[in-house]
C-alpha cells in the first residue's frame, strides 16, 4: 500500500463518518448494559433485521430509504420488547454466563432464520443517495455516509434529550444508577427495563435505515456490527452514553485509517487488538465507566 496524505485524509473523513454510525449502533447496547447489566449478543442481529426491513421497503416497494426510519424504528422497538419479555426477562437474575448463552442462542436463531428466509445473498440497494458524492479538496465525501453521520448525531442528541428531560428517560437513568433506590422513589423497574431494551433496540432501526444506501445487507451482517458494538461499548465504558459516542468515532477512525495503511483486511486485527488491550488494562473503558 502506498502512503499518501490524500489517502490518509480520505481515510480520516471516511473514518469519522462511519464512526458516527458505529456510535449509533453502540449507544443502545451501552444503555441496555447500563440499565440491566446484560450484554445482548444478538445486538448485531437486531440491526440485521432492521436492514432487511429497510432494504425491502427501499428496493422492492420503492420507498425513500430515509423514510423507512418510520417503519424500522418502531419495528425494532417491538422486536426488542417482544424478545426481552419472552426470553430475557425470565433470566435477568441468572448468572451472567446464562444470559450470554441465551442471547448468543438468539443471535444464532435470527442469523440462520435470515439465512433460511433470504438465502445467503448479499443485497445492495442502489438508491439516488448512493451516488451522491462530492469532493472536499482531494477527499471524496459520500453523501449517504454524511447523511448517516448527521442522522446518527441527531439521534444521539435526541436520545440524550430523552434521557435527561423526560420522565421515562429519568426513570431509565435512575434505574441504571441504583435499581433499589429507583424503585423506592416510585420508578416502575419492570416497565423501565422493557422501555430501555425497546429503545436500545429501536436505535438500531434508525441505524439500519441510515446504512441502507451505502451498506449491503446479508444474514451475517450482524456478526461484524455486533462485534464492533461490543468494542465500542467497552472502549467507551459499559453503560457510558457519551463514552460510546466518542469511542464510536475512535473505532471508525481505527478501522478506516488502518484499512488505508495496512495490507488486506489487517485493520480488523488492529481493532480487535485495541479492544483486548482496553479490556485488559482499562475494563472500565477509557472514559471512566460510570453512567453520566
Amino acid at each position: 500500500m502506498i502512503f499518501s496524505y490524500e489517502l490518509l485524509a480520505q481515510a480520516i473523513v471516511t473514518g469519522i463518518l462511519i464512526g458516527g454510525i458505529f456510535a449509533l449502533i453502540s449507544v443502545g447496547l451501552s444503555m441496555i448494559w447500563g440499565v440491566m447489566r446484560i450484554i445482548n449478543f444478538a445486538h448485531g442481529e437486531f440491526l440485521m433485521i432492521g436492514m432487511y426491513i429497510a432494504y425491502f421497503l427501499t428496493a422492492k416497494a420503492g420507498w425513500d430509504p430515509y423514510l423507512t426510519i418510520f417503519i424500522t424504528t418502531p419495528m425494532l422497538f417491538l422486536v426488542g420488547a417482544l424478545i426481552f419479555q419472552s426470553t430475557i426477562r425470565p433470566i435477568l437474575k441468572d448468572p451472567s454466563m446464562n444470559q450470554i448463552m441465551l442471547t448468543l442462542g438468539l443471535s444464532l436463531i435470527l442469523q440462520n432464520l435470515a439465512l433460511v428466509v433470504f438465502k445467503a445473498d448479499v443485497l445492495t440497494s442502489s438508491t439516488a443517495y448512493t451516488r451522491m458524492n462530492f469532493m472536499l479538496g482531494p477527499v471524496v465525501v459520500r453523501g449517504s455516509q454524511l447523511i448517516a453521520f448527521v442522522g446518527s448525531a441527531l439521534t444521539a442528541v435526541f436520545l440524550y434529550w430523552f434521557l435527561q428531560k423526560t420522565e421515562s428517560g429519568r426513570a431509565i437513568r435512575a434505574t441504571a444508577q441504583n435499581r433499589e433506590a429507583a424503585a423506592l422513589v416510585g420508578v416502575n423497574v419492570r416497565t423501565t427495563y422493557l422501555l430501555a431494551f425497546g429503545i436500545g433496540s429501536a436505535t438500531l432501526g434508525v441505524a439500519a435505515s441510515l446504512m441502507i444506501p451505502f451498506y449491503y445487507t446479508s444474514p451475517t451482517v450482524g456478526l461484524f456490527f455486533g462485534l464492533i458494538a461490543y468494542v465500542v461499548v467497552v472502549l467507551g465504558g459499559l453503560g457510558n452514553f457519551i463514552g460510546a459516542l466518542v469511542a464510536g468515532l475512535i473505532i471508525g477512525l481505527t478501522e478506516s485509517v488502518g484499512a488505508a495503511m495496512l495490507p488486506g483486511s489487517l485493520s480488523r486485527v488492529l481493532t480487535y487488538s485495541l479492544f483486548v488491550v482496553v479490556l485488559l488494562f482499562r475494563p472500565q473503558g477509557i472514559f471512566g465507566g460510570k453512567q453520566q
Binding site: I39, T87, R89, P90, I91, D94, S96, M97, N98, Q99, I100, M101, L102, L104, G105, L106, S107, L108, I109, L110, Q111, N112, L113, L115, V116, A120, P219, L223, L227, Y230, V231, V234, P263, G264, S265, L266, R268, V269, Y272, S273, F275, V276, L279, L280, F281, P283
Partner: protein, 335 residues
C-alpha cells in the same frame, strides 16, 4: 459437585463403550459419519468444559485453539510432509502456549464473566482476520489436506471407520482424564475457583495458577481435536476453524449436557448432533443453517428451562425421587 454415576453405575458408560466399539460393524457410512461428528464434538466440548465448566471461565473463542491445532498440523503436512500424527502434538503444544498466554493476560488482570467472554471472542476474531491475510497458509482460501490414498500413518482412511476409532479413542481418553482430574485436588480446586474465588484463595488455592493451568490444558486438548477436524474434513479456512461458528459448537454441548460434569458434554453431543445432522441431511441445500437454527433454539430453551443441562435435570429428578415428596428445591419455574 456430586458424582453422577456411582461405581455400580459405571455399567452405563461401559455398556456404551462396548456398543461404540462394535458400531462400525453394522453401521452405514452415513451413520458412521454422524457418529464421528458426535465423538468429535463430544471431545471438543469435553476439552472446553475443563476451563468453561469446571473452572467457570467461559471462553467464547475456543475456536482459537481448534484453529491452531488444525492449521499447525495441516501446514506441516502440506508443506514439509510431516505426518499429522506428529503435527498434532506440535499444534497442541503451540495451543497450550497460547492458552497460557491468553490465560495469563486475562486472569492476571482479573477479567471475569462477560469481559473474559468478550476478550476470547475478540482474540479468535482477530485470528480470523490475521490468517485471512497470511498467504503462505492459504489466506482466506485456507488449506487442503491432500488425499494420498488410504494411509493410516498419515491419518487418512478410505473408510470412515478409521476416523471413527481415532475419535473414539480421543474421547475416551479425554473423558477418563476429566473423570480422574475431577477426583484430584486440581479438579476440586477448579470447581472451588468457579464457585467462590475469594473463599478459594483464602483456603490456600492459588486461583490465578489454577485458572491458567485449566486454560493450558483445555487449549492443548482442543488443538488435538483441531488436527482431527482438519484430517476428517480435509479442508480448513480461517472462518471455519477460527470463526464464531466453531466456537459456539465447541461449548454448546457442554451447556446442553451439563456444565462442569464429566459426562455432560458427551451426553449433550450424543443427543444433539444426530438430530442436527439429520435435519441438515433432510433439508439439504434449501435450508442451509438448519442445524445452527436448531442449536440456537436449544441454547435459548436450555437457558430458560433447564440451565443445568441434561445431567442437572437428571440429578434433580434423582434427588427428588430419593427424597420422596419432600421439599423440591432450586428448580426454577419459568415465568
Amino acid at each position: 459437585m456430586k458424582t453422577v454415576w456411582t461405581q455400580k453405575g459405571f455399567l452405563i458408560p461401559a455398556g456404551a463403550l462396548l456398543i461404540a466399539i462394535l458400531l462400525p460393524i453394522f453401521a452405514s457410512e452415513y451413520a458412521l459419519h454422524i457418529a464421528v461428528l458426535v465423538l468429535l464434538y463430544a471431545y471438543l466440548s469435553t476439552a472446553w468444559n475443563v476451563l468453561g465448566g469446571y473452572a467457570g471461565q467461559h471462553s467464547l473463542g475456543h475456536s482459537l485453539f481448534l484453529g491452531i491445532g488444525a492449521y499447525t498440523s495441516t501446514f506441516l503436512f502440506t508443506k514439509i510432509g510431516l505426518t499429522p500424527w506428529v503435527g498434532m502434538w506440535i499444534g497442541a503444544l503451540l495451543a497450550g502456549l497460547v492458552g497460557w498466554f491468553v490465560g495469563y493476560l486475562c486472569f492476571r488482570y482479573g477479567l471475569k464473566g462477560p469481559y473474559f467472554a468478550l476478550v476470547t471472542i475478540a482474540i479468535a476474531e482477530a485470528m480470523v482476520s490475521l490468517t485471512n491475510n497470511i498467504n503462505f497458509i492459504g489466506g482466506a482460501m485456507g488449506l487442503e489436506v491432500k488425499w494420498l490414498g488410504n494411509s493410516p500413518l498419515l491419518m487418512q482412511f478410505e473408510s470412515k471407520a478409521g476416523y471413527y476409532y481415532i475419535a473414539l479413542v480421543m474421547l475416551v481418553i479425554a473423558l477418563w482424564l476429566v473423570y480422574w482430574l475431577s477426583r484430584q485436588r486440581f479438579g476440586y480446586h477448579l470447581i472451588a475457583v468457579r464457585e467462590n474465588e475469594d473463599a478459594a484463595e483464602a483456603l490456600g488455592v492459588d486461583t490465578l495458577r489454577v485458572k491458567i493451568q485449566a486454560s493450558i490444558l483445555s487449549a492443548f486438548l482442543t488443538a488435538l481435536g483441531g488436527t482431527f477436524f482438519a484430517q476428517y474434513f480435509t479442508y480448513i479456512n480461517p472462518r471455519n476453524v477460527f470463526g464464531e461458528g466453531p466456537s459456539i459448537q465447541i461449548l454448546l454441548f457442554a451447556i446442553v449436557g451439563g456444565l462442569g460434569t464429566v459426562w455432560g458434554p458427551a451426553v449433550g453431543a450424543l443427543v444433539l448432533v444426530p438430530i442436527a445432522e439429520l435435519a441438515r441431511g433432510w433439508l439439504g441445500g434449501s435450508f442451509a443453517g438448519a442445524h445452527l437454527l436448531l442449536y440456537g433454539t436449544v441454547m435459548v430453551l436450555v437457558m430458560l428451562f433447564m440451565p443445568k443441562g441434561i445431567i442437572g435435570l437428571y440429578e434433580s429428578i434423582r434427588q427428588r425421587l430419593k427424597r420422596g415428596s419432600s421439599a423440591p428445591e432450586e428448580e426454577r419455574t419459568p415465568a
